[in-house]
């Protein structure tokens, strides 16, 4: 204990190679409720009957998506999250981002993690340029910073490669273009923890290469990156550590090469 105190107070005694944790998940359980999609009757009479008899709507169901996950992520790491569909990867990312309450256990994070998902909608009626400005301001940049980075973001997203799209409303963009712009906005800021949920999947091959390069840069600037992807090659290219989730439980956690080999063996079955 005395040694621990010395570490905290002294600072100089700390080994410079010491790894600093940025995300700590401690026996995390996540349960979410799904509305709709049920098979119950959807007539007004049925709804009234439920109100009178005080039974919950039949189309609300609970899904125990993550069952006791424990791991520690460190600064400068890029961690791939793999697993079959519905294994709880996206749910876990949303909880790390603080967008979903934890039912049991706890998640501790350094600063405010940012989640970048495919459905991160911006304002469709506005031009790409205005969306860039809004997105940057929403990430806490000052107006001067925004003016400086806007051309860089437009350039990086490549939406102007086919003419002047940045001044057109976003509803005229293809899904790939919109996803590229969203990624470009989120990647414009240094994040302590960046969570990427399949966001790179929609871009074309050239953009994918560029964004993978950007992920590596973000990592080098002392951040932690989580990447959810079904594209094993992009996990292999960007992450040195991989966590394999299956039915809400960690099946493997370790160097990407080993975990991916094990995962591919499992998926072939």
């Amino acid at each position: 204990m005395a040694e621990l105190d010395a570490l905290q107070n002294g600072g100089t005694a700390v080994d410079t190679a010491e790894r600093i944790p940025t995300v700590v998940a401690d026996d995390v359980h996540l349960i979410y409720r799904v509305h709709g999609g049920g098979t119950g009757a959807v007539t007004p009479v049925a709804a009234l009957k439920r109100l009178v008899s005080r039974t919950p709507a039949p189309n609300i169901r609970e899904v125990h998506a993550v069952k006791g996950v424990t791991f520690t992520a460190y600064r400068g790491e890029a961690i791939g999250l793999i697993g079959s569909n519905g294994s709880g990867k996206s749910t876990l990312l949303r909880a790390i981002a603080g967008l979903m309450p934890v039912n049991r256990g706890a998640i501790y994070t350094q600063g405010q993690p940012s989640l970048l998902g495919v459905n991160a909608a911006l304002l469709n009626d506005l031009s790409g340029e205005r969306n860039v400005a809004l997105g940057c301001l929403a990430m806490g940049m000052t107006p001067e910073d925004v003016r400086k980075v806007t051309p860089e973001i437009i350039e990086f997203s490549g939406i102007n490669e086919r003419g002047d799209f940045s001044s057109l409303p976003m509803r005229t963009y293809s899904s790939g273009m919109a996803a590229r712009l969203r990624f470009a906005i989120a990647a414009a800021k240094k994040h302590d923890v960046l969570l990427i949920d399949e966001a790179l999947a929609t871009g074309d091959a050239r953009f994918r290469r560029r964004s993978e390069q950007r992920v590596r840069e973000l990592r080098a600037s002392a951040g932690t990156v989580f990447l959810v992807s079904h594209s094993i090659s992009s996990i292999r290219d960007t992450c040195e550590r991989t966590i394999w989730l299956e039915s809400g439980v960690i099946r493997a956690d370790g160097p990407t090469r080993d975990v991916v080999a094990e995962y591919e063996g499992y998926m072939r079955k």
Binding site: L4, L7, Q8, D15, E18, R19, I20, P21, T22, V23, V24, A25, D26, D27, R33, G68, T70, F71, T72, A95, I96, A97, G98, L99, M100, P101, V102, A106, I107, Y108, T109, Q110, Q112, S114, L115, G117, N119, A120, A121, L122, L123, D125, L126, R130, A133, L134, G135, L137, A138, M139, G140, P143, R182, R241, V249, I250, A252, D253, G254, P255
Partner: protein, 298 residues
């Protein structure tokens, strides 16, 4: 279940101890009220940009575009004038009915649009909320700001109507500014409260238009609320007179019009208007802040 593959100096600690040692916070924790207020202030540029963006987007698909900012209040006033002024002839008892009606309509419309926009400001922006981290209070405040900009163009129309209807331009007109400022604070608080309610109670959106219509009939927009005192008991009349929207409407009427009959004396109106603004403004803000963790979850 394998844990982290690599052991280091921290390996003896439990996850909670490890987190505490490196100063990690619990994900999605709510800031203190003071910190939250500071955060909101540092996001003022975002609020302004968002409000402005909504203003631009509102009429972007209409051919006449921003002209609708002026045409909407004008058309609104014309419809009510036709029904209540010409056909039902309520104007008989009220001097300068057209100015009376327009003030009531435009001031009421400010609160009405803020409430209807505020209730959807969280539930209608889930994509934005789930994608980016910013104090959620930005959204309902931006709604208030957008509608305030609409109000300004409505006010330009109103000044024209009031002048044409024969009212003289006096120094008293300056009182419009503090009156609308108080109403804006009141509206911001209301938008914040509605945003939290609307985030949880999805049915509220369907009910609110009826609530707002009831409120309009009780606020002396189309006729004088003196009509009520003939039919209501004494206690109910007190409640009618304490209606914040009636107060703000009367304050603006008092500022712009010469011969207007007020329900309470002018200083009483100012006092009640300030009290309502502080009560709802601060109350709504605290109520919204207490739910900050929940928005966009589940």
């Amino acid at each position: 279940m394998p844990h982290t593959a690599v052991a280091d100096a921290d390996s003896g600690l439990s996850p909670a101890q490890l987190a505490a040692r490196h100063g990690l916070g619990v994900a999605g924790e709510r800031p203190t009220l003071a910190a939250y207020t500071r955060q909101l202030w540092s996001y003022r540029h975002f609020i302004a940009a968002y409000a402005n963006a909504k203003l631009v987007a509102a009429f972007s698909t209409a051919r006449l575009g921003q002209l609708w900012q002026v045409l909407t209040p004008l058309t609104n006033a014309a419809v009510y004038y036709l029904i209540f002024g010409v056909i039902l002839n309520t104007k008989g008892t009220i001097p300068n009915f057209i100015a009376y009606l327009c003030v009531g309509l435009f001031v009421f419309n400010f609160t009405q649009t803020v409430v209807l926009g505020g209730v959807q400001s969280i539930s209608g922006n889930l994509g934005l909320i789930r994608a980016l981290h910013f104090p959620r209070g930005c959204l309902p405040i931006a709604v208030t700001l957008t509608q305030f900009q609409h109000l300004i163009s409505a006010m330009v129309v109103l000044v024209g109507i009031v002048l044409v209807s024969g009212e003289p331009l006096t120094f008293e007109w300056l009182l419009v500014l503090p009156a609308l400022l108080l109403q804006s604070i009141f509206n911001a608080g209301l938008a914040l409260a509605m945003a939290r309610l609307g985030a949880k109670m999805t049915d509220l959106k369907q009910v609110l238009p009826f609530v707002m219509r009831t409120w309009m009939y009780g606020s002396g927009v189309l006729y004088s609320v003196d009509n009520f005192s003939k039919h209501l008991p004494e206690a109910a009349v007190v409640i009618v007179h304490a209606n914040p929207l009636l107060i703000y409407i009367e304050l603006v009427r008092h500022a712009l019009m010469e011969e207007v009959i007020l329900t309470s004396s002018a200083w009483q109106l100012w006092l009640m208007g300030t009290a309502w603004a502080l009560l709802v403004g601060i109350g709504g803000f605290v109520y919204f802040w207490r739910g900050e963790r929940e928005y966009g979850r589940g």
